[in-house]
């Protein structure tokens, strides 16, 4: 069964159940300054491995597991986010997660590492626009100044009442990864907190 079968949920219900697009902005703004959309079915693997096995795992998944905490590395559409001294989240193209999981499970490293498919456990939300940092600072206690939180920086932190993984892709482009059941809250919070900047929730990927 593939993902195009109509009765298989396309992405997170927080987005699919809503009538998109949603636009909220003050009248004086001509265009929203924040855009928000889900990246549905992004492959997500939780990888646990010690630093000694990091290089070998990196080779197998064709993406470097970052050695430095709170950073992300990316290669050919795959992103590896560091979550802890021995914990990583690999974001991969939709559908590739099972294959990647198999590669790692069948490797000789199996005894020393753990790989768990968490693609459906988390929802990836893309936020972009010139006011994104302003919006996030209403709920996120970490220092989001561009000198401190720049491209490829990541953080596991609070966003209002949800715990999220925040990733800076570009200066004005972020990915926020939260547990799927918190996606609706994160979305509603963003709509409420972002209305002064103008916010558009779209289906665009």
């Amino acid at each position: 069964m593939d993902e195009n079968t109509p009765h298989i949920a396309f992405g997170c219900a927080a987005f699919t159940d809503k009538k998109l697009p949603i636009l909220k902005k003050p009248e004086f703004l001509t265009a929203p300054q924040i855009e928000l959309s889900e990246i549905p079915h992004l492959g997500k693997l939780n990888i646990r491995c010690d630093s000694i096995n990091r290089d070998e795992v990196s080779k197998l998944i064709q993406c470097n597991l970052p050695a430095e905490p709170n950073y992300m590395s990316n290669k050919a559409g795959r992103f590896a986010v560091s979550l802890g001294p021995d914990e990583y989240l690999l974001l991969a193209e939709p559908g590739s997660e099972s294959q990647l999981e198999q590669i790692l499970r069948s490797s000789h490293l199996l005894e020393h590492i753990s790989v768990v498919n968490v693609s459906d456990a988390f929802c990836a939300i893309r936020l972009s626009g010139i006011k994104v940092r302003e919006l996030l600072s209403k709920g996120c206690p970490i220092d989001l100044h561009p000198n401190n939180f720049y491209s490829n920086r990541t953080a596991q932190c609070e966003l209002a009442l949800a715990n999220v993984i925040l990733i800076c892709l570009e200066d004005n482009e972020f990915v926020c990864i939260c547990r799927t059941s918190f996606a609706e809250y994160v979305l509603d919070w963003c709509i409420d907190a972002g209305q002064e900047y103008g916010i558009l929730i779209s289906k665009k990927i």
């Binding site: 159940d17 003050p26 768990v116 209403k138 709920g139 996120c140 509603d188 409420d192």
Partner: protein, 1016 residues
């Protein structure tokens, strides 16, 4: 009728008010006109309105007293649409077109207040009145409380406030936070800004400048001070690294420079734009903080000092300079220092008539005094105002020559009429934030004030907040201190060295000799009479007499005095009263002020709206609601939901015309007779992986898991180290080194955290990785005699899983083409299968099962039916049958506690003597004599319902339902020595005179005791 602005000056030099723009507003039902930039206080004073409230205890008339957040009297309720906000200070409310304001604490109106009879009987309200009067007998407290609450009311809150007012929070980070935008703050910010570091400067008022907006006749660097303010603010506002926040009160200074402030974003606007909040709460983490919070003038304490028309000298000067309002026509100035002479000068320049200046000092000399003398204004040195007279406004004062040494009048009293009295008792540095940070204070005997000791590396006070009152010195201190503090942030931040950045600008402020004379309480010669009306804390109505009474009763510590007399405990936190109270206490004890000490200031600096503290966390954003992937289906079938932790789960699915019990009974019955389907997606799920996974589970569960065969599932009980049940669930071995653990819905996060804690801190040698997969899998659990048939019907023809699928095993397969993990486990006692699919297929699986199950009478059931089904079987629910004080033995689950394992979490604790005490509360079943009567959960059981209260209680009912399968009410209870009481009768006493419920103690398994149904 619109009143004329009789007290507005004709000039056009106001530093704040813009006379070009009129503003219409209402106060207590009357219409008034003010100007843009006016506060409600300045606009009312412009109309000659002083009286603005009644005092808290005695309902004495009170008028506008100050000009800022120190205001103790002028508390106002502002009405906007359907909402109203109480307890705002008139001195801080900016007027706007259409503002509607009301005075508070008066009934039926301001001029005639019924409760002011309290004033006539003021002997009833001495210090500690409430403590003494309402202490005994304690059973009367309920009566007293109503009385006190009505008497103590400070304003009314509107119930619809949060619907119409939005608040929000915002985090910010900076290297330097400057609190206060007066001379010191502006200079500090401008010096810091040039280094490129992030600077935030916040000021409480709507315009930056602080006291320079009032003392605008000084020059800074040979230009008018006000121009210096404008230039500096412009510089700061154009710097990209500086955030300038006016209308922003820093109200809390916390550990490691976590600083909280309230920005009034739109509440000063006539039309609040919908996209912006009323107020914004800033939570700032600053590397360093400069506290340039200024100083507040304190009054002098004498009889009748609380009459409307008596105001702080500095406030009067502010109204003249900022708003061009002169709030009186025949004015007396009463002072112990030089500052009041600047007020006199301002009054004179505004064309006001000064009857005389009364100075407590015998022979004061300074440039400003000479200037005033030259203007021909009478100065009575070595004199004091002994008493002020008037009914609703000051009308006259008694004056006498006064000796501050012996603290007594030394001449006959003379009488002088006036309608405005300016009082000045010296300056108190605003040390609140410093004190909140637990910074120490030093008493300065020369300047008569407490100032900060400035010993922290994280924050520093400058300017008048630091007890430095002369302008050139303030600017110099701000400059130098800022340079030092910036060098501590990082070496690479350099300040270019110019005269301005080394020493700061120069001013011609002539306040050179700042040395007030101490006079904490003016003695009328008949203190027993006068001290009862000599007010120290205006807002809480505490008097000099109260303080002296407290001292006589032994309250000598300043902390005790504060609580006993409530001095300094009102919403103004004693900004104008604390030091005077301490001065009077010190004199009464024959101690110095330094020896007496000072109370600690605590947040918030000014009253803060609870809505602001809540911010966005209200309504639908109050708490995240977590929904499963099948939620949409439940909703479309009209399910009622219940909250389980943050999860929202289908509770029952009422069909048309069905009530709660009917729906639940139908679901329970259908599940036992045909098949039922429940959404169990919220169960906690943890992947346990690693070579030591088996050993790890052996240590955290009471039973053995290391020997569990691959593909097999086992129920496990988890204890905490104290031997009490912590969680339960089924864990399945997927591979030699790989387990799949399930936990309770509510316990999922706590279990994962606890297991991580053990691995990281206790058993670092174990190689185990834990990953939460709660949301990776959607779970549909199908139970009942028809469940295997439905499952078969969902499989492709070549699949046959229900044969050769023993109880407590697991299979990987496909259902309707969806990759699934199926567990043959049961929480209902029926043959049951728990189907786990990747969450994206959750809804598809559910819909498919319901579709296929139609022929087999498959019924969706909710959490309530699940509870009944499991209770019929006597299965416990952690958190319902357990409460952190229940061991496995108490639950009768000895079978699950391994006797062979040498250790597991909780093992040693279970061996303690008290754990095996036979009178512990133990889990039993209860069957009511009346089969229809369902006992309320949480009710207590007794042996004899006719005994006197308090009754001897056996224990409580933990679960109670009506079982449609048994056609009988069933309950579980934890009763003392319950295991040995089977067969006994207990009674459950009810409230409201209902008859006690009679029940028999039985075994807690009510249905299918042998468990035959598990196998279909």
């Amino acid at each position: 009728m619109r009143h004329t602005q009789s007290h507005r000056l004709g000039t056009n030099n106001a530093t704040v008010t813009d006379k070009q723009k009129s503003v219409h507003f209402r106060f207590d039902g009357k219409e008034y006109i003010g100007f843009e930039g006016d506060t409600l206080a300045s606009a009312l004073l412009a109309h000659g309105v002083h009286l603005i409230g009644r005092s808290f205890k005695y309902h004495r008339p009170r008028g506008i007293f100050g000009s800022g957040s120190e205001e103790p009297n002028a508390l106002i309720r502002v009405i906007k649409g359907a909402t109203a906000e109480p307890n705002l200070r008139a001195t801080q409310i900016e007027i706007y077109d259409g503002l509607i304001a009301e005075s508070q604490n008066r009934f039926p109106n301001l001029k005639f207040d019924l409760l002011s009879v309290n004033n006539l009987f003021s002997r009833f309200f001495p210090a500690g009145f409430y403590y003494k009067t309402f202490m005994w007998p304690s059973t009367f407290w309920m009566v007293y409380e109503k009385f006190i609450r009505r008497a103590a009311g400070l304003g009314k809150i509107s119930k619809r406030h949060l619907e119409q007012n939005r608040y929000e929070h915002k985090y910010a980070h900076c290297e330097l936070l400057v609190v206060g935008g007066g001379a010191a703050g502006l200079q500090a910010a401008v010096i810091a800004a040039q280094t490129g570091i992030r600077v935030i400067i916040a000021d409480e008022q709507h315009k930056f400048g602080g006291w320079l907006l009032t003392d605008n006749n000084f020059n800074i660097d040979e230009r008018p001070a006000i121009n210096w303010v404008h230039d500096t603010v412009k510089k700061l506002q154009s710097a990209p690294n500086v955030t300038c926040l006016n209308r922003t009160t820093v109200f809390a200074a916390m550990d490691d420079n976590f600083t909280i402030m309230a920005e009034r974003v739109t509440e000063h606007l006539a039309n609040q734009p919908a996209h912006l909040p009323k107020q914004r709460l800033w939570k700032i983490r600053a590397e360093k903080v400069i506290m340039a919070t200024g100083a507040i003038e304190r009054p002098l304490v004498f009889s009748g000092n609380d009459l409307p028309g008596i105001m702080l000298s500095s406030a009067i000067r502010s109204y003249i300079k900022r708003h061009e309002v002169l709030p009186g026509t025949r004015i007396i100035v009463f002072t112990n220092n030089d500052d009041a002479y600047f007020t006199a000068l301002a009054i004179y320049e505004a064309g006001g008539f000064i009857r005389c200046i009364i100075d407590l000092r015998k022979n004061p000399k300074s440039q400003i005094i000479t200037t005033i003398r030259k203007l021909g204004i009478e100065i009575k040195t070595g004199h004091a105002v002994i008493t002020a007279h008037g009914t609703r406004h000051i009308a006259s004062v008694d004056i006498a020559a006064y000796d501050c040494e012996i603290q007594a009048p030394i001449s006959d009293i003379s009488h002088m009429d006036c309608n405005l009295l300016a009082v000045s008792g010296g300056l108190n540095p605003v040390v609140h934030l410093h004190s909140q940070r637990k910074g120490k204070l030093i008493w300065d005997d020369r300047t008569l004030c407490y100032r900060p000791n400035n010993s922290s590396v994280q924050w520093v006070s400058v300017g008048s907040a630091n007890g430095t009152f002369q302008l050139t010195k303030v600017l110099n201190e701000a400059t130098k201190t800022t340079s030092i503090i910036i060098s501590k942030i990082a070496k690479h931040y350099k300040i270019s060295k110019t005269e301005e950045t080394i020493n700061g600008p120069k001013s011609d402020d002539s306040k050179q000799n700042w040395a007030p004379t101490p006079a904490w309480l003016i003695n009328s010669g008949q203190p027993h009479l006068s001290e009862k009306t000599a007010f120290v804390d205006f807002q809480n109505d505490s008097t000099a007499a109260d303080i002296k009474l407290a001292v006589r009763e032994g309250y000598h510590s300043v902390e005790h005095l504060k609580r006993y007399t409530t001095t300094g405990m009102a919403t103004d936190q004693g900004k104008t009263s604390n030091i005077n109270a301490i001065g009077i206490l010190a004199e009464s004890l024959n101690k110095s002020v330094a020896q007496t000490g000072i109370t600690t200031f605590r947040p918030p600096y000014t009253p803060t709206s609870l809505g602001l503290i809540a911010g966005r966390n209200i309504g639908s954003l109050f708490d995240p609601l977590r929904k499963t992937r099948m939620h949409g289906w439940h909703q479309s079938k009209g399910a009622k939901f219940e909250n389980v932790g943050q999860w929202i789960r289908a509770w029952y699915y009422p069909q048309e015309g069905e009530e709660f019990h009917q729906a639940v009974n139908r679901e329970v019955y259908a599940t036992r007779h045909y098949a039922g389907l429940i959404d169990a997606s919220t169960l906690g799920k943890i992947e346990v992986k690693g070579p030591d996974a088996g050993e790890f589970l052996n240590r955290v569960y009471t039973n053995n898991f290391a020997n569990l065969p691959i593909g097999k599932a086992r129920y496990g009980l988890m204890l905490k180290e104290d031997g009490m049940v912590f969680d339960d669930g089924v864990t399945t071995r997927l591979a030699e080194d790989h387990f799949f653990m399930t936990t309770t819905t509510g316990g999922a996060a706590a279990v994962l955290a606890w297991l991580e804690e053990l691995l990281q801190t206790e058993w670092q040698d174990l190689k185990v990785y834990l990953t939460s997969v709660t949301e990776q899998w959607s779970v549909a659990s199908i139970s009942g005699p028809n469940s295997s048939a439905i499952l078969e019907a969902c499989m492709s023809e070549d699949q046959n899983i229900t044969d050769d699928f023993p109880f407590m095993t697991m299979k990987n397969t496909f259902i309707a083409g969806i990759p699934s993990r199926i567990f043959r486990i049961s929480f209902t006692g029926e043959m049951a299968f728990e189907i786990n699919v990747p969450a994206r297929y959750g809804l598809a699986l559910w819909s498919h099962l319901m579709q296929v199950g139609k022929e087999y009478n498959l019924t969706a059931y909710g959490t309530e039916a699940m509870h009944v089904l499991r209770a019929e079987k006597g299965f416990i629910i952690v958190g319902q049958e357990t409460d952190g004080t229940v061991t496995p033995y108490d639950l009768g689950m000895d079978w699950i506690v391994s006797k062979k394992k040498s250790d597991f979490i909780g093992k040693r604790a279970l061996e303690r003597e008290s754990m095996n005490e036979p009178q512990r509360k133990q889990l039993v079943g209860l069957l009511t004599t009346d089969p229809q009567k369902v006992i309320p959960e949480g009710a207590h059981a007794v042996l004899n319902p006719n005994q006197d209260t308090p009754m001897e209680m056996l224990g409580h009912v933990s679960s109670s339902y009506y079982s449609p399968n048994l056609k009988h009410s069933i309950a579980m209870a934890l009763l003392k020595g319950g295991f040995n009481r089977k067969g006994q009768i207990v009674y459950i006493p009810m409230l409201n005179g209902e008859q006690p419920i009679k029940a028999k103690i039985v075994d807690p398994i009510f249905f299918d005791k042998k468990g035959d149904r598990l196998h279909g």
